[in-house]
Symmetry: T
Subunit: 138 residues, 12 copies
């Protein structure tokens, strides 16, 4: 059972970036822990700051993987192209957000991709990723 976590723009800076909002743990160390929690799942990780590369990765994994955990970062609120990519593939996509996006700026309350995903989890810090995984493994 293959599942991929795809992280969008600026999430490579996790642990350095606005630590009061996003916490001070970097994603690589978190990912290592997560893998150890789910030893039976073939868990992959991909990050890009380029919208089109995220689309490419969705296309590449979206017909054979069992699930995609997707944090589209800032593209969540602006990308019709990513929303179309999610509609175009077969693998279920779970949208995650680290922070509670509803207690932040107004423009973060809208999501172009939410309606195309299976479900959405937000506000639990990095634990949002584990919950997304849980939902796919269920």
């Amino acid at each position: 059972m293959k599942i991929i976590i795809i992280n969008g723009p600026n999430l490579n800076l996790l642990g350095t970036r606005e630590t009061s909002v996003y916490g001070d743990q970097n994603f690589e160390s978190y990912f290592a822990k997560l893998k150890s929690l789910y030893p039976k799942t073939e868990l992959e990780y991909y990050q890009s700051n380029i919208e089109g590369e995220l689309i490419n990765k969705l296309h590449e994994t979206g017909f054979s993987y069992a699930g995609i955990v997707f944090n589209a970062g800032g593209y969540t609120h602006t990308s019709v192209a990513l929303a179309d990519a999610i509609s175009a593939i077969k693998t279920p996509v779970v949208e995650v957000h680290i922070s509670n996006i509803f207690s932040r700026e107004e423009f973060r309350h809208h999501s172009l991709i939410a309606s195309k995903c299976k479900g959405r989890i937000s506000g639990f810090g990095l634990d949002s990723y584990r919950l997304a995984l849980e939902s796919l493994l269920h």
Copy 2:
């Protein structure tokens, strides 16, 4: 460790109501299964169709319980009073929705309570409740 699941309007009809959207399982049988999954947690359930009674229950549990899993149903989109109640209490509240509210009517995309909750889980059917519980037990 005491955790309460609070369900808002029309969720008493789960299993009968619009089964293509909400599934055909009633909440009572789901709740029984959930309790058996988490035997160490003191898990309670409350449902009311009356906005003010939901506020009362939040007040009653919101200073002593370890967590509240809250599906405010239709009040999610219209109730400033419920949002104020969540702000007023100490216990963390996790907002859940059974359906993917972002693929439904426009007015369901807005939430008055989301910004006051710890986090939000939507779209996983009844499994949304389990994930919410997971997040609180973490």
Copy 3:
């Protein structure tokens, strides 16, 4: 054949309240006349100012009665929960309004429940209720 008329907030004051808008007849005496006009129909009446009690009554009657005539009063314009309740039940609901809501304040022009009802009758004074009954008996 059982039909119930459900009246929402402030309609208990009919005959006393803003008589230039709503007329000076109270609903009880009107209801008596209406019953005498339709002796073969089992006609009931319920009124509450509490949104959740209106939901309860819709649930209670909405699977066995032949029709519901519903004047949701001020909740017409604000209640997603009532709209969900109408969607959740099987009995056809006819929305009525005493006054011509389109010649009143802008916020009365929108209805959250209209799309969930079978039809809508407004502006004929108390006669709106009789017309709603006519539509259900047809």
Copy 4:
């Protein structure tokens, strides 16, 4: 007692047009049945696709007839001129719609003429016309 039913654009195609929305009965045969139901009422029928001809007919009948049953079709949502015509005449006008316009496109939810009419009946199929007649004969 003279009452006229005035139908606006595309209602001449009733029975052929989008039958899932408007039903498969043409208006002429329905009108014949309606006349037989109300033998004492002098009932007339007029249809035009031309906005200005509808205005002309409202002017022509609006000072001597006892009532007008008006389905303005698509002009309902766009015509200030028809609204002004209804304000300009003395005969009470009852607005009718065959379908439940509130469960259709957003632009059908607004009516420019509703505030100028005596009342409004929508969603009961062709029976909306009979109910409108009932309201005028009351």
Copy 5:
């Protein structure tokens, strides 16, 4: 020097229609007085309730007449087609309104044709027509 006054929908009812807003003089008698005030001007009058006929008349007079005084009535606020007709012709058009449209309903504050006309005069009762004539004769 030929000048035509073109009146749009419902202005044929002037003197009968909502006299508190539009006054109780009919346009024909006013027009006779106006002609006698400007004996040197070849003054014509046209009225129609049909939008397309107003367009036809603008086309017909709009390349040879010296001026057009135009009260588009309710079409003022809704007709792109009339605005296009004014742009398409050569004769200067002066827009007039009898009432002060800015102290009436919100939708009367917008004009689709105003930007295409030479100027606009509103609020002076029937005297608006004389002022428009004055502006063209200047």
Copy 6:
């Protein structure tokens, strides 16, 4: 002279709830002081979290009391039904708010009930209630 103070949702938590916004005094002790300041006035107090019960209390007191001091809490911004209740009764209602609602979230700037009340006092902490009383006793 009978005057009632009616408090809406979450105001039962005054003194515990968001003390930086609402202060740390509970309403009961404040009310006792207020009564002692106005010994000649028959001063009552009522609180409920249920919208419909607030409507009931307005109906019950709104035809015989000399004045109502009303803090509708979160319902201020969402309840057409409460606004209708205030219109329906005879007793003058003074709207009060503890905090300066204009320096808080945007949705708190709108009030559905303000236009139906005699006047409005906001921002003076609990002293807003005394000022409201002063205005009624004047």
Copy 7:
């Protein structure tokens, strides 16, 4: 194979009207050339400035012709009635515009009829009509 080109308001002035926007060729001479290009197609032409007459022509041809090329002119942006007429008929309708309507006024960017048509071609001058024909003959 019968195909009709229907032109809406002001298109009778093509060649005279705002030549910088619409070109200086009149439609009749263009239509003659178009017919000679497609000798096997029974090609007809109709123009009217009256919205309701355009509806009449759509009804008349919309059940027997193989295709309709429709330039609704200014009614494109305002006519629900024309949109309903297109929905009501069986013949596929291709919407055309001579100018690039997206580089003109904001109100020309919206189309009420576009969603009801098979496709839309705009901005190619009179060649838009030939392309529409091409699409229908394909």
Copy 8:
């Protein structure tokens, strides 16, 4: 019979300012001509760039003069205070504009003062003032 022309901000630069929009005649010379056209009318002129001084002048003349011709310039679109001043006085005020404000920026299409004035004349260049005078002398 005393009539005053009041000009608002930047109108002192008439003849120098944006001559393609406002023409190249200064107001003083125009005013001299206007006075000679109406020798029997006691015609005054006042200009200020200060909103409050315009209010002062309206107060000063608004109870004794027979008419006020008012071009509020840029304050037309932003000043509630000037609108209130016009409501507060007894003398009829006629609003004038030199340019056709409807063919200029969107924000010039709205007027806060129009609803408070007797009538409005715009687009006729400086002749707008003469027409305003004509309307008051009528």
Copy 9:
């Protein structure tokens, strides 16, 4: 203890201006009575129709007086500069309005200065000023 009442535009006409809205008492006589009610308070009064002079007066008194009672009149809804002035000074400002601004035109419902003031009192006629004073003396 020095307190100043500052009145904005058109309030110099109190007693003459729209007496059905603002009452028929002029402010000077009211102010005299008010002073006699609070003999221990050094009470001043200032009025100007000029926005910038109101700013000057706020600057002048805003660092030494104990309180400012401010009715900004029409500037309430349009003046960022006055809002900035209130933020810039140290003295608490209480906003007052004579009429119930929420039952008047829509544009009066918004206030640019409310969020910068200590509190707000509206709808009590001239008594609003006394209540404001009460709040400052508390």
Copy 10:
């Protein structure tokens, strides 16, 4: 004569992606057919999911090619940068869409690039590309 077809995001999945909307033919086989239809035209094809690469390709071909047929996919509705690229180059660009974007989600009705293109063709399935080519070859 060199013409390039540029396809934006997700169009590489044509034939696999949402076949009910986009059909089941992949673009490569369609392109082969198209080339055979226009043997005299040097026809190229480029696809990328990366917005900036589409800009690069527009820059690269936009000064020497005779025409560009551009389907920007989801970037149509969100990309100012692509619109700027089209403005920056000399080669005429024809915008195409496979589906009728006006009968889909609201956000697809707006186009940031349409005003910068020569013309626009939408709704004809893959035939939209041939029509675009036709328009450029004309």
Copy 11:
């Protein structure tokens, strides 16, 4: 070479007013330093809280000075009259703001005058003025 710095409302309080936003230096001392930095430039300074006086100063200097550095303060967001004044004069105007207005309240993001100025500099504290000067001297 004469250049004037014009400061609008509340900028006279610089150094005292909201020092966390605007810094604690008063403008006079800053201005002295600035003059010493540009000994060859004839540098003047003017401040007023009155909108109309700012217009007067723009008129007075706007035909002879080489440049105007303008901080319109709160009038930036509300004054059409100041925008018109800038359009009316010949001297280039550079708009400056001390704070980063885009990280403050929403209403500060809009500027009525920006489109009329040569350029705009914001967010650099008092150094914004020096940069503006630099731009004019270039």
Copy 12:
């Protein structure tokens, strides 16, 4: 002291692209001159049309450089991801624009990145870059 100028989409075409808006100088030659003006500053230049590559460059330089001068071109108005990148780094970013974006299309008036930058300079042609540099060197 290292400072980098980062240019976004289409700015590689400077000197060729819309020269009436952006001037006819290419950026490379301008950059050479700029370097010679500031010999002590280590000045670098980077341009990309790809949003994600701009993010990468901001990450790469944003923790060690002394300043970033950033012209995000069309991404200014649409990119939450770039705004997040600016928030995520430590180096101060100054936003520049060549043209006066406020006198261009409405959608260019909004900036998603402005609130995250230190300051903003627009409208001075290429000199905007020098002024930005000046601000950083200050």
